[in-house]
Symmetry: D2
Subunit: 284 residues, 4 copies
Amino acid sequence: MIMAFTSVGLTARTDQEKALDLAKELMGYLEEKRLDILVDPEVAKRIQRIDSASALEEWKPDFIITVGGDGTILRTCIHVPKPEPPILAIDMGERGFLAEVPPKDAKIAVDKSLRGEFTLEHCKKVAASVEGEALPDALNEVFISADAPVKLLYANLWKDGERILEVRADGLLVASQTGSTGYSIAAGGPVLDPETNVFVITPVCPLTPFPPIVFSENSTLTVEIERPHSALIVVDGYYRKLVEKQKPHVAITKSKNVTSFIRFRKKFYGRLKDRLLYPKGRRC
Amino acid sequence: MIMAFTSVGLTARTDQEKALDLAKELMGYLEEKRLDILVDPEVAKRIQRIDSASALEEWKPDFIITVGGDGTILRTCIHVPKPEPPILAIDMGERGFLAEVPPKDAKIAVDKSLRGEFTLEHCKKVAASVEGEALPDALNEVFISADAPVKLLYANLWKDGERILEVRADGLLVASQTGSTGYSIAAGGPVLDPETNVFVITPVCPLTPFPPIVFSENSTLTVEIERPHSALIVVDGYYRKLVEKQKPHVAITKSKNVTSFIRFRKKFYGRLKDRLLYPKGRRC
Amino acid sequence: MIMAFTSVGLTARTDQEKALDLAKELMGYLEEKRLDILVDPEVAKRIQRIDSASALEEWKPDFIITVGGDGTILRTCIHVPKPEPPILAIDMGERGFLAEVPPKDAKIAVDKSLRGEFTLEHCKKVAASVEGEALPDALNEVFISADAPVKLLYANLWKDGERILEVRADGLLVASQTGSTGYSIAAGGPVLDPETNVFVITPVCPLTPFPPIVFSENSTLTVEIERPHSALIVVDGYYRKLVEKQKPHVAITKSKNVTSFIRFRKKFYGRLKDRLLYPKGRRC
Amino acid sequence: MIMAFTSVGLTARTDQEKALDLAKELMGYLEEKRLDILVDPEVAKRIQRIDSASALEEWKPDFIITVGGDGTILRTCIHVPKPEPPILAIDMGERGFLAEVPPKDAKIAVDKSLRGEFTLEHCKKVAASVEGEALPDALNEVFISADAPVKLLYANLWKDGERILEVRADGLLVASQTGSTGYSIAAGGPVLDPETNVFVITPVCPLTPFPPIVFSENSTLTVEIERPHSALIVVDGYYRKLVEKQKPHVAITKSKNVTSFIRFRKKFYGRLKDRLLYPKGRRC
């Protein structure tokens, strides 16, 4: 694959010194390579490079480098304009599921990326809207609950206009294939193989036992919130929307957008084994 | 058993018209019986009997009548002074686990209560304190989480001064024997037989699979919250305390207090069967 | 839909007197309608109609009537030649998930079937083979375990020629969409919506927590049994094959065959609600 | 603690060359120490020391050395006469939960044992009987199922003469405190803290969701098997009893016997962490 990368967006987790150090080091390396560099303003401030700061919402680089964990990636995807540039994800310490490149290989990975020596992994996303108003797409999952912990959510589930089930639970979680190995698994959800065209809805602490249900990605799933009248919708653990309305409808479908990762080696099941055996921080 | 009941506290769920109607009807019946009656102020207002209103925090009646579900009972127990008078629980519609008497039998149950024709079921409670400050005892469970849904809680578990495990989960739930059939079961916890002297800690959506653990009621369990610095502690789904502190310690032991129910017939496993097969609202 | 049904196969569960009684009654009714009738030999014997007995393995009727539960259907599907005629499933008492028609409506259902007033529900099946030798297709699930209970199965999972995971568990269960509401759900598997093109593999009592995994029906899944050297493969709870071999491979794919049900009204989620709330016997 | 150990029983797993090698080496070491040595006949044959062979059923040594995993321990406990001598458990490779001493420390552990420099961990056992006939005590668990995999067990549960629940499941598992970290956890059972006086019954693949139930060790639990008429009872994964009877009763209580382990350091929760994070073979 030949892609002439001439610009790059750079972000990092800001609660970890070594992530910022590596970001700074990569910054120098990318300048040597004469790339145009956009830096997440928060990161730019911390590494004294305000000159290169650029709001994520305005990024249009050829590719993005994230130095952190899954959380750094998820937050970046929520903010950058669509379609998203491919992401080179450097994995800092608490190894996440999405990030692949260990810090010591960061420069080699940049070199390979510039030479086009990689494959792209395309991850489908989930689109949610509340009463017709779109939320940011979810790479991992959309979570629906009452506005505070330990409050029961009463909801009706609709599929393509047919009312199919009612649920009483602490929360409902709709995960994409990518998200099936994240929060969803902790709620008892299944892993979805990358070649499936489905998503999965899993209740959190259902009042009566209620199994996860796997739907075709071509279905439109609607969650009609009966109670309470103040509900919370969380996208990928970062974007939070409080909905104060009588019986709001949350519609969930496949997004038109994807997130693409620059990959060098490890496949899905290799990463899954790591996730199941040596799990690290879920949000970082 | 002979108990000379001369005073009674009366409360009801206020979001249900028929519960209020029955409360009003019972009010008249109790007056005929010449009992001293204390009425929950909110209920008193709704049934036009402000004259008998009395704050739960000041109740010292011989027994209490609750017209509602488990939620009505749990809320009452949080507020009344200790030791708690025995509770006659009338079960409104969405039958709970703790309430036993169907509405149509309410007056008969009152008669039997006044004649002493009942058994008392004593339910142990869980005592929690945050940094030495006591919270209300829990009849069902103490729940610890981050201050908002979908935020990971990092905690260390101590048992009698020994650090035993670390947990990363959405929340931690410590349930009494009574509470083991409530919220705890939805999180995957076991049922505790009434003759056991234990309580159970169950994680909600743990990052890595983490089984429920059953402890002796003579143990002191301490949850040391590593992160986040804003945590929420919820007692019986009603009492909510936000803790904003570095690494607060939540200590959990058996309470010196019990809650006692006036029972006529159904035993624990009869109620459990109903709960598992025909579950109704968890909080009402 | 117009289908000229002129012949019918009739079977029933033989451990239930009222199922046999209804089969006998239907037999008379079908004769009035002048249909050619093939009767399961075991049933024929019990209802004194040996004259019409015909081995299931030789049936080629226009449609089949089963009087029983899911077990009666599963057993029938294992034995009849492919492609399978559509099935009119009368549901006896312990209501199953697949059977729909209550006994009192049996004759009306026959009438409607003969007039073509129904829809056909087509259910995909799972094809399994051991070392290249095909087993009967599964309508519900293929189960792989050691040859006796409480023996650990050591297996490697391959997907389309790639070794993806190793599993240590009491058993492994690969369920079709139809089977996802059966045994699979008891092992913690998700429900698969009828519009998905997937199947699901779920471990039974895994040594280490191991989530169910959902695969595209276009994948070939291979279970390589490491240990023990005597393994058991069970199709739909009826067909049992003992495999005594070093490291046998069990290959699992989508079958070319389907099972079709004659349906009058209830949809998938209506039946699912019944299954979750009022579950009856799994095998009958 | 001063105990004058003058005799020792020696056993090892026989499917692992290095376990046998270590057993042979220890044999020599124990002879140097002038101990009377009883060797498991199967092991004696494999290490060419038939001269010291002695059937487990006749062992009365001061202590026992097991070279293997949990399986070796469980099998030994089933066979040796009661009360059982304390066990020094050398852990071979696939580290189990019960064995503690790594092979390289085996001789040091023997020295310490002879000098009395250890603590004893006493593990309660579960006693089961079928129709009044006692089975060997279980250190870990008693498992009850149909006589073959994938057959539903219909059973009624009695507690101290009261019929409390009915269960339909693949199997039922009653685990001791010690066994709660073994097979039971794989079926969804809770961990029981060593200071609890309880055992836990957990269904395997229940037809309808059925939580694990924790009972006081002073309760007598009776499983009345409704169906099938050929049932299997397995103690600690080794002792298997086929019961062919109409509705047999399996009674389960606390045993009068305990199993004692010679321990040097690691406590319960240290071992639990290892079990949850780096689980090894369940039966070896």
